[in-house]
């Protein structure tokens, strides 16, 4: 339940931050949510990955649809991956890794500071 809640928070606040703030702020969002709501490493990694994977993947797909995939095709030749779908996957995957490491960082920082923390929002 807590995990689902964290996932939704990451997606919503991650998307909002990305739309209005520099792209890397989504890492801070994942970090803070990881710090505040998650305590198991593997779980945090998965949630961080999935949330940013979804946010980046969805927006990349929407933008590409609006553009008839012209830019995606050209960039997949440029990089060169020669496959637009692969480039979409790489994009979402890169986002996912950023999300995973960020939320994991939150959990790890929390374990270092275990003692001073008394008030947990959920127990």
């Amino acid at each position: 339940m807590k995990a689902v809640f964290a996932l939704i928070l990451m997606i919503v606040f991650g998307a909002i931050a990305s739309l209005f703030l520099p792209w890397w702020t989504i890492a801070i969002v994942c970090f803070v949510i990881g710090l505040a709501f998650l305590d198991k490493g593997p779980e945090a990694a998965l949630i961080g990955f999935v949330s940013v994977f979804l946010v980046w993947g969805t927006f990349a797909l929407i933008k590409s649809f609006q553009n008839d995939f012209i830019m995606l095709n050209r960039m997949s030749e440029l990089l060169p991956l020669h496959n637009p779908w692969l480039l979409l996957l790489v994009t979402a995957g890169l986002g996912g890794i950023i999300g995973m490491l960020s939320s994991l960082s939150g959990v790890f920082l929390q374990s270092i500071n275990e003692k001073p923390r008394k008030n947990k929002y959920y127990s």
């Binding site: 990305s18 739309l19 520099p22 792209w23 890397w24 890492a27 970090f31 980046w56 927006f59 990349a60 933008k63 590409s64 609006q66 553009n67 008839d68 012209i70 830019m71 995606l72 050209r74 960039m75 030749e77 440029l78 060169p80 790489v90 994009t91 890169l94 986002g95 890794i97 950023i98 490491l101 960020s102 994991l104 960082s105 790890f108 920082l109």
Partner: protein, 813 residues
């Protein structure tokens, strides 16, 4: 640990490492490249744009090809809007071209392989592109009118640039990691200098001198004879002769070249001449030859085929002006086009307006150089070439009264020499005034007045008017040359700078000639009876096909003009192939060889897209040419497309000269190949070339001409993913001049039917410079198939106020 790793990763993804783009920045879908892909349903600009500088509102209507129709209430607003709109379509291209002209490529891209970018920058500075632009700028700024004109355009470009956030900058900026600088009149001047550079690389002074020094002037004269009675100059000798123009035709002795038959190894490598394969066609016929009894005019300038396209198409309107055509991204006004009264187009004159002089320095300080019996002082200019990722390079450019010393201690057949360059482009003309006035011209007199301002690069301006007039004039500023001046380099201690120029009234022109047509295709301007010495690089074949077709034209319409623009007849093949084949020994060939020989004998000499014979001929002719002139031609020609790839310091006769020598059976020492022990004859060479061609053909996957040629339209920064290949007919030296890398960069036909001009045109690319826009290459297939669109130049905005157009209003806040 993970925390640090995360921070490191995010930071690493946000900065450029090792010249690679910042991947996080580039790939994230919020501010990365996804964002630069244009929404295909909306315009690239907002409906309303506010700009302080405007006096009144400007309405802009974009059609379904994103061609803007700009309606302003006054001139200032018009040129502001033109700057704004051009920048919105082509910002990166405008800036990149200017940075290249200024010699600042290493600053963006680093030193490059073998320091190629540094060397390029050094070349641009040494030949004086910056100096020429600075001279032009002074003239622009000295005149309040031109200062204001350029200022309005500049303000428009900068207003657009300032409206962009860093993330909105074109993709090329993101990939190469730099940002645009504010636009200025200086940058427009640099752009015009760049055009001059591209169009006036028509000289071989140092190469010719090396040849004449080693082999003697008489051999030079017989091999490089450039003119014959078979050729048809742009301006035929008038019935009264040219003498009426000039009091006396003076022939002055130029220089006594030394003789040095010794083979000096390792001559200097000259700077690459920009694009010797460029050219253009234009023509006009009077009402006597048309169905409508009104003139028709056509123009297709052949330039490097590139993305973003060379041209932007536009319609400019104020209450006093209504003009339509194509513009250079970065300069105000229409360059080729029409208004409600006249139409005009240009081809390159190809005249030599670059002279080289050997300079002797007094000592190593190079503070003085020899002048007559004494010495003159040099001036020095210090240039810093910034190099990305390295320390700057510094270059000292020495100036003489003739111009900058481009080459120092340069190895020639007469030993090391310093060479100064005198170049018409260094002088400050007011070419922009020509276009400003042509945009407003209403008749022949206005056309002539407009051309008075035009100096360099010299062009053949074709003209037609709704009143039925047609005209052609080769306009430029030409120094009065001594005979052979510009063919060889000269002694800088004996020559003053150019001071006399061919008077305006003695520049060749035709106005309503009896033959009822005018045309030019980069051929010779006039024959030897013209009372001034002319020299340059000219065209021999395409122009004669055009002349033949025009002469025969009767009751023609725009479709006949289109057919002529697409004419793919290979006159060089008609003249050269039967000669070549007469030497081929049929009995020595195998079945495949006989098949090819028979096919070639029956060929109709048309380089259409499916022709196999065109490919055979191309390879056959190339092989003959390179083995004949093996002393001068690099044997390994990359791609086999540039027969002008010379060994350092040399140049061989061109194809026309080559086949003239063959036709006249002139024997000369070069027929023997240097590398072999046996003595080759023409017979041996041609049979060798034929079998060499057969071997080449065997290695080809596809022999059809279009597929073999596989025309490349290349991105300016040579990014393959942003470039395209196309299988089409035509070639260099053919009216449809679609070669491997160059071609008709704009095809335009103007129909003056009923005294109202209707334009048709198309160019190979699209209005947008954004590779993520559907308007990046949307006109390419229309261009390839000859699907010209109508150039709608209505003076009433209501024409454009419907669902086929998207509108933008530029207004004061």
């Amino acid at each position: 640990m993970v925390f640090l790793l995360t921070i490191c990763l995010v930071v690493a993804l946000n900065i450029r490492i090792g010249g690679k783009p910042a991947f996080g920045k580039l790939l994230n879908p919020f501010s990365g490249f996804y964002n630069l892909g244009e929404n295909t349903n909306t315009l690239h600009l907002a409906d309303e744009i506010f700009a302080e500088q405007l006096e009144e509102s400007v309405e802009i209507y974009f059609d379904e090809r994103r061609i803007p129709h700009i309606f302003a209430k006054n001139e200032n607003d018009l040129y502001f809007a033109q700057g704004y709109i051009v920048a919105s379509l082509r910002l990166w291209q405008m800036e990149f071209q200017v940075l290249a002209a200024e010699g600042r490529i290493a600053e963006l891209l680093g030193a490059g392989e073998d320091n190629k970018f540094i060397n390029f920058d050094k070349q641009q500075r040494r030949i004086g592109l910056k100096m020429g632009a600075e001279n032009k700028l002074k003239v622009i700024e000295a005149d309040p009118f031109s200062k204001n004109l350029m200022g309005q355009f500049t303000a428009g470009v900068n207003a657009y640039m300032n409206s962009l956030k860093k993330n909105d900058l074109p993709i090329e900026y993101q990939l190469m990691g730099y940002q645009p600088e504010p636009w200025s009149s200086y940058k427009t001047a640099l752009l015009l200098m760049n055009m001059s550079n591209v169009l006036t690389s028509t000289e071989y002074d140092i190469e010719n001198s090396n040849f004449a020094i080693k082999y003697g002037e008489s051999l030079f004269d017989s091999l490089f004879n450039d003119y014959s009675d078979q050729l048809e100059p742009i301006f035929p000798t008038p019935p009264a002769g040219w003498q009426a123009y000039s009091e006396e035709y003076t022939t002055l002795n130029i220089t006594d070249l030394p003789v040095n038959a010794e083979n000096l190894q390792n001559l200097g490598s000259l700077y690459e001449k920009s694009d010797v394969q460029i050219g253009s066609n234009n023509w006009a016929v009077s009402g006597e030859k048309t169905v409508s009894a009104y003139p028709l005019l056509a123009n297709d300038p052949h330039l490097k085929l590139s993305f973003p396209s060379v041209w932007v198409e536009m319609h400019l309107n104020t209450p006093d002006l209504n003009t339509y055509g194509v513009v250079f991204p970065g300069a105000p006004g229409i360059i080729i086009g029409f208004n409600d009264y006249i139409g005009w187009g240009v081809t390159n004159a190809g005249r030599d307006v670059k002279d080289w002089y050997s300079i002797e320095f007094k000592d190593v300080t190079k503070d003085f150089y020899k002048w007559e019996e004494g010495w003159r002082a040099t001036t020095k200019v210090y240039e810093e070439i910034k190099v990305k990722g390295c320390d700057s390079m510094f270059d000292t450019i020495i100036h003489t009264h003739l111009g900058p010393v481009v080459y120092e201690e340069f190895p020639t057949q007469d030993g090391p020499k310093n060479f100064a360059l005198q170049w018409m482009a260094h002088q400050a003309g007011q070419e922009y005034m020509t276009f400003y006035l042509l945009n407003r011209a209403e008749n022949f007199e206005d056309y002539l007045d407009a051309l008075r301002y035009y100096e360099c690069p010299a062009q053949n301006f074709v003209f037609a008017c709704v009143d039925g007039d047609i005209a052609l004039r080769q306009q430029g500023k030409f120094p009065i040359l001594e005979k052979d001046q510009g063919v060889f380099y000269m002694d800088g201690s004996q020559k003053e700078a150019w001071s006399e120029f061919i008077p305006f009234d003695e520049i060749p022109m035709m106005h309503n000639p009896d033959r009822e047509y005018v045309y030019s295709a980069n051929q010779h301007v006039a024959d030897s009876t013209y009372p001034y010495f002319t020299n340059g690089v000219f065209e021999y074949y395409r122009n004669r096909v055009i002349n033949k077709e025009l002469r025969a034209m009767h009751k023609v319409s725009k479709d006949d003009f289109k057919a002529l623009q697409f004419n793919e007849y290979n006159l060089m093949a008609e003249e050269a192939l039967p000669l070549l084949l007469s030497y081929v020994d049929r009995s020595s060939l195998d079945e495949k060889g006989k098949e090819v020989l028979d096919a070639l004998s029956l060929w109709d000499y048309v380089n259409d897209v499916d022709s196999k014979e065109a490919t055979y001929f191309q390879l056959f002719s190339e092989s003959y040419y390179t083995s004949l002139w093996d002393e001068f031609v690099e044997t390994e020609v990359p791609g086999g497309w540039d027969p002008y790839k010379w060994k350092d310091g040399w140049k061989a006769p061109n194809e026309y000269q080559t086949y003239r020598l063959l036709a006249d059976s002139i024997e000369h020492r070069f027929i023997d190949m240097e590398e072999t022990k046996v003595v080759e004859t023409t017979d041996v060479l041609i049979n060798f070339a034929f079998s060499d061609m057969l071997e080449d053909v065997d290695t080809l996957d596809q022999v059809e001409w279009g597929k073999y040629k596989n025309t490349l339209i290349e991105h300016l920064a040579m990014i393959p993913a942003f470039s395209t290949n196309l299988d089409i007919g035509g070639n260099y030296k053919i009216v449809n001049a679609s070669g491997k890398f160059h071609g008709p960069s704009w095809r335009m036909i103007l129909d003056f039917d009923g005294g109202k001009i209707k334009g048709y045109g198309v160019y190979p690319g699209g209005q947008s410079g954004n590779p993520g826009s559907k308007f990046y290459d949307n006109m390419l297939s229309e261009w390839a198939t000859g699907d010209y669109h109508e150039l709608v130049n209505s003076t009433t905005p209501s024409t454009y106020q419907n669902s086929n157009y998207q509108s933008v209003t530029l207004k004061r806040p």
